[in-house]
Symmetry: C2
Subunit: 270 residues, 2 copies
Amino acid sequence: MIDCGEGTQRQMLASKVKLSRLNNIFISHLHGDHCFGLIGLISTLGMFNRTADLYIHSHPSLQSILTPLISTFCDDLSYKVCFEPFDPSKSEVIYEDRSLTVTTIPLKHKMPTAGFLFSEKERARNIKREMIDFYQIPLQTIPLIKQGADFVTEDGSIVANDRLTVAPAPPKKYAYCSDTMYWERILPFIDSVDCLYHESTFLHDDLAKAKATMHSTALQAAKIAAMANVKQLLLGHFSARYDDFQAFLMEARSVFPNTFVATDGDTIEF
Amino acid sequence: MIDCGEGTQRQMLASKVKLSRLNNIFISHLHGDHCFGLIGLISTLGMFNRTADLYIHSHPSLQSILTPLISTFCDDLSYKVCFEPFDPSKSEVIYEDRSLTVTTIPLKHKMPTAGFLFSEKERARNIKREMIDFYQIPLQTIPLIKQGADFVTEDGSIVANDRLTVAPAPPKKYAYCSDTMYWERILPFIDSVDCLYHESTFLHDDLAKAKATMHSTALQAAKIAAMANVKQLLLGHFSARYDDFQAFLMEARSVFPNTFVATDGDTIEF
């Protein structure tokens, strides 16, 4: 989960995501709309008698804010909340498992803020079922072939790997950049990602307000997307002053056509 | 406002209640589902540049919980949050204005908890327009007549007050009792109220669970309503284990027929 504003637990219960699949929460910065939902979510997970550790990755200050709330409101919490502090001013790998790494992206906002780059790891090649049968490939050899090795038959002839396997789906990259002003220094981190979520709090008519509050306009988000050569741009974090998000879409598409608007409950595939 | 769970600001914005009309919040007890929405609401009121003081009436501990959150998340708050602590173990008038008093009702729950009795004050009598004209009643005499005085004409004859005025609507009383186990000691406080909100977290089949968690069943709430001779009972605070509230209604109506279920966004007139 990235960020956790007030009401996140309600949105999560309304969605089809299982609460038990949640193990890591990445908090971009300590403004209320990005973290006020944590205490309620932590409390509710306790009522469901969760036992697995929950990891919260954030600016170091969050621990001193949340710890007294957890002590006050969550008697005998059935699981452990583990704080994993990071320094938002530099880029570093803050999470890694067998399929994924998460790297911070320093952003420029009113307080220390980091975006997050989710990078899938290269997957093993898919071995063709009929080739296993045809060449009678032994079970213990299969992992090597999935890693790219050729196969040597009993009579010594070499079968090239690309005859035996199919390339896996290319690893995908998703970058989340919110909240931030227009900030070209993020370009190297988000280069060619499959999907970029970039905040666009304002329309470009309100550029002065965007600058004053250190937010971005839809046009600026689209410029960043174009310069970084990303495949798809998702806009979000719209100011409550706007009722209609169509104008954001039109503004951004004038610069970067493959733009979409993220709204509550959306599932985006890429 | 009574209690302020997570997401209250969102519900309030979705309703037709103006945020600027909110001046007093009464917190029954310090469980998360009754107060996690405060910091978000306080923060949002600041973004709307509120200037009027906001009074929060609660157990004394709330101030030490909320103050650090306000300092951390609400830079330069445009208005003052005033904490008005009360002792939930005794009944006292904690709020009064020209039309209303609010009195605490000690409840029995897992932590110090108070319900609230909202009592309208007796209103002035309504003077009949045509009588003002007929007897040429001077402007400065009208307030006295509204308070019940007779009118003495210039020739010294007395016109009885009930010829000049109509009785006002009788003052209404609303009692809010949540969270609490079945607790007959609340009866004197809620006697004959126009509307009683009483929690009913469980159905009576789950009486053991209700006792263990110091909550009430629908049947128990109805018994309290009947014994206190209230005019209307509102049930709420249903456990998330139940999907359907019809069973609560049927159970309570078997003892107290004028029972209703409170659901999100309802407006109840009485």
